[in-house]
Subunit: 496 residues, 3 copies
């Protein structure tokens, strides 16, 4: 049971945050006080970060008094033990003990290192439920259980050795996987035992965690829950402002396979954001268009609750990001209607491949949303666009995107017909040979067509600008260059 | 006629801008009030953006009382009807009705969607006149009427299909062009009829606009005027600060063909800008070196009126950006003296190609400024440099740029001799064959030499830094790599 | 001798800095007053920049009253002549006359253009001494005296001409070198005579400086001292805040050969920095974790004095950046233990090459720090990590880095075995032929493996994120692609 105490003068000194109002009675649990006693000195950065957070200066009971759009706690009921103290170390690291195989005894308390999305759901239940239906929550298995993608992973991350005039490729090791693909997709955290560590307070036992550290979006937590809320609300200030800043998204969405941030940066939106961000209010809930911001970030269009100054909702908050996504623009050879379910690891196309499209581009429709749902999602997105643009602007913008999806899919088909002919002619060894389709130079050229360039073009279209990312910067120039290389390879080496 | 009214309490509530001084009598026209009545609710972002603007809080009559460098209105006389109200929706969207084929009836008013540079010229006449002589105002025709560039456009943006073992290339469609090259160069806006749209206020008729949306620098407006002022002064706050921020330029000047922003970012200037921008005054007119800023952005050197604290002019404002540009550094195979006229679509070199240089690099001098004018422009630029640098620093900086222009032109000549020999030997099919010189892989390698790498090196030189953009980041490493590939291609395949 | 005067009203007007406290007696030397008399008008930007600096508003005598960690002057004793005036133009440009071959007479004073690190050492002795042991201080000779690297420089920066069907490569000229490699590595500044220049005050004589302008980290100054403090404390505000901003490092550390900033930007650290930098105190000395910042920049981990709120030192200030670097991660084919000495130009491996590793990856251990020193440095770095992370987090992070160093070194070995076989088979002409190993296309592919991709992967690992820089953005995708190309080249062309 948590015994609450008034914050002591001692603690005020330790955490040194002048912004806490000394007139209000902010209660820190005695357990958290115990944590802070040592950890303020051991990890001053963590404690200072927490101390800036709303968690440190408000209690669930207080937060639940907020009504309507201003409310941040979505769970209808919070346990009495948690309600009246601030959300401190122990309130999270001591939750749901029975569900945590990583729980361990530490100075008289049972705690766990990894605060899971399941722990966050104690107060933020709706967000966690929505997030479970978000494609991102399944990012680990969606990659690691897909036999086609795993051939790409093996070819990219494997160990290459050249022995006796022959190349040998060994599978990637766990450390390599954890810091490459799984940095974003999330690791599976395992507990392999306990180990003694020297500390400033003597030797102590801690669990040995495999796949740790990690904050990937599809992390599989020791308690079986999915995702790491700190992917986007990082460290101990759990800031809504950080999550709304586009930099958060850039951690995983800047590379050539998913260049959303790179495109945003040079879009009209990104330009105005960069030029005027100091005048934006990134923290207010709800987020009021016109009052708090006049330019969108990633979160504006994809996640946040947006209202106008009269309180009318332009977009409800949703951690099921798919809600406003008619299309899946990246990650597979062809853009296609969004998958029905977050778990796409069980999809099989007609050819038996674990892909939501055929190699010809035809969608594997049974696994994908239908036209009506696409329209519904597009309308939800357009409602936000129309906050600042006329509806004819918005409609014609989306016509262009539709055209670009068609055109880039057609270009991908051309590249795929070429590599297929190359495989058929046995000028390279790929799918028809039951061989890895990603491990020869000409196959990499084909891969770049859809994994890098078609994506870059589609993001540029979808975000209404960032011209060069659709043309000379990993765009159409490079896409058509790969097609020409595929064709010249075929011409040069084919059997007559 | 505009009937002016005091801003009503209603409007204050709607637009909610606390910065408007309630003591001053800010007048909004009754027409604009009518607009705001619906559009405040329909598009709160637009109205909030406008509400932050100087247009919303000042009248032409008031602005014209400002004397000397502080004056923002350059037209000597403003129509009485416009003078005494703020510059609201109707003041711009209702201007010059007779010149606007896109004008239409809307709730009793004749308005047009696209505010053209001609409309802005009502108050900002000098800027519009200067801009007409700026190469950028002709960006649409300078691209679309150039037969050589159009071969590049066709090869990059075309549709590639592989049928019956043969490749077919179809021309790019309008949507593709509008979001690729013409995103920056500007579309030609066409009106193809009227269409009914469902709105929250019932069905209404609106013109159908082709090439819309677009804010490209060389947009051809329905009234025949050139350019979109909102390229750099975007949306409805028409901010001088946004235009002075380098992010504005980055929208079109970050790709490998024109990497100005990419270079700026890692230059000494960009470093200091990023480290200290919060202390800069980006809005004041004139822009006072030392007081408002101690580090330049793009606009400082290329556009803005710069004075020192005594009022001495270091650089006059000019929207004819060429005024301080002795050289044209990018966009054509060789750097060359700046073109005489903004319209370069009629240039022909001795070989009959629409290029300002021969393929040997020799400038097509009849179409270009002469040495005297180059010196005059260099001096104008150096005057700004000398605001912060000694004249020996500045002189030696420009010596390096001259050297780099010579060296990169020589490298381009080498690459061009190689591709010419490849064409002559019929190892590829290009200009001598009257064939597209951009549609084979080895031709793309030649193209990268001058379209990407030589440019990157020259920008790095011109901006005194951003070392790696001249070396390993699309610079000399990559340029020489293409030359080596051209040479090896010729050696491998040439007839003995 | 310096005669000190009270700042006159005149000067206050000229420099216009309202932040100077008029109650304190800030003394400007009469020499500096003379400088300002003309140069305030000639170069208002320089004077305004200086005027913002601590140098302009404090005297050495005053600064030396600060005790302990707050002290910024490290020299134990400052000359009486310098102590009681602010650090103005003449105090730096008039120092150490006898040591300066670039000193010249200018309006009755003997001054020099280039303020060297030796001049800065008058007050900042410890920093200059530490910096001499920093690899960066030797960046000029470490490049220019290394015969292997100079083959790369020649191949990348040289002049290529194609004459009589043959390629000729001429050495890079001085201007090209100064703005490419030596922009970062630093030029050697030479004085070749005096030249007359027209000025606003009549003709004057100035020294002719070769290699100028330059602020490279290993600049060889006319007085023989090494480095330019303005590399990181640029222009005349000499700001600690600028040096702590990551943008400073980005000037030289963003390209593919050393992509530290590119990785930082999309790391968790970079994300939080970008999202919250407006709340950081970048200027305070010492830099207090928790109070001044909760997220590190480059300087936090590599240079700055970091204390907690109790004054406990997490890291001492060190301008010998190597102090916390167990490994050298970039710039040579294999990552290896850090060199013992800053001057690495004399290193020879067993094969006689000027490299700290064999071509097989074995370190040239005699020239490198040993395991104990590596552990000591790693511990020093981890102490900072542990300011915000648990020690298990930190330990496991470094395990991953160790794994990545092993894996990328193994991949580099594979690529090197392949290029060696290509050389042995005479399919290309490289080290066995005493020929340049960087001037053929297939050699460039080998070079990219270690110069670009292995580095990118290692930086991404070292900085705990920036996932795509280790995978699809110049990372493992591209590294393995080069290996595949090397292998296919060998297979295609080798003698049977």
């Amino acid at each position: 049971m948590l015994k609450a105490m008034l914050i002591s003068c001692f603690l005020f000194t330790v955490v040194g945050n002048a912004s806490v109002n000394p007139d209000s009675l902010i209660l820190v649990s005695s357990e958290t006080e115990d944590c802070l006693m040592c950890h303020s000195a051991l990890h001053p950065g963590i404690v200072a970060s927490w101390n800036k957070s709303l968690h440190a200066s408000s209690t669930p009971a207080g937060s639940m008094k907020k009504e309507g759009h201003a409310r941040r706690i979505s769970s209808p009921k919070i346990d009495e033990n948690l309600k009246n103290t601030v959300v401190g170390c122990y309130e999270c690291h001591g939750l749901n003990k029975d569900l945590h195989p990583d729980a361990f005894e530490h100075n008289g308390y049972t705690i766990h290192t990894i605060v899971s999305s399941g722990d966050c759901a104690v107060c933020h239940q709706v967000e966690e439920m929505q997030y479970r239906d978000n494609l991102m929550s399944r990012a680990h298995d969606n990659l690691m259980k897909n036999s086609v993608y795993m051939m790409l992973v093996g070819s990219v991350n494997g160990g290459y050795s050249f022995l006796n005039q022959k190349m040998h490729i060994s599978p990637p090791n766990d450390h390599t996987l954890a810091e490459s693909c799984l940095y974003c997709h999330g690791t599976k955290i395992s507990i392999t035992g306990m180990a003694k560590r020297e500390t400033e307070y003597g030797d102590m036992l801690f669990p040995v965690l495999g796949g740790w550290p990690n904050q990937g979006v599809g992390r599989i937590n020791p308690d079986g829950t999915l995702g790491s809320c700190s992917s986007c609300h990082p460290r101990h200030d759990f800031s809504v402002a950080t999550a709304r800043n586009p930099y958060t998204c850039s951690e995983c969405h800047k590379g050539p396979d998913v260049p959303a941030f790179k495109v945003y940066e040079v879009s009209k939106h990104g330009n105005i954001f960069n030029s005027s961000k100091s005048s934006m209010n990134m923290s207010s809930v709800p987020w009021v268009i016109g009052l708090d911001f006049t330019i969108p970030t990633c979160a504006t269009c994809h996640v946040s609750l947006i209202v106008d100054e009269t309180g009318t909702v332009l977009a409800p908050r949703s951690h099921r990001f798919n809600d406003r996504l008619p299309w899946r623009l990246f990650g597979v050879p062809y853009a296609h209607p969004h998958p029905l379910n977050a778990d796409v690891s069980t999809i099989k196309n007609k050819a038996g491949l674990p892909l939501p499209v055929e190699l010809t581009g035809e969608p594997a429709s049974d696994w994908l949303i239908n036209k009506d749902e696409q329209v519904r999602r597009k309308n939800a997105m357009q409602r936000i666009c129309n906050g600042c643009h006329s509806s004819s602007w918005t409609d014609q913008h989306f016509e262009r995107l539709d055209n670009t999806i068609r055109e880039t899919n057609a270009l991908t088909l051309t590249a795929t017909l070429l590599i297929s002919e190359i495989w058929n002619q046995k000028l390279a060894s790929g799918l028809p040979q039951n061989d890895n389709p990603f491990d020869e130079a000409i196959e990499r050229d084909w891969t770049k067509v859809w994994l890098f360039h078609a994506n870059s073009i589609r993001f540029t279209s979808a975000m209404a600008g960032g011209g060069d990312n659709g043309v000379f910067a990993d765009g159409r120039f490079q896409l058509t260059e790969q097609i020409v290389k595929l064709q010249e390879f075929l011409s040069r080496y084919k059997k007559q």
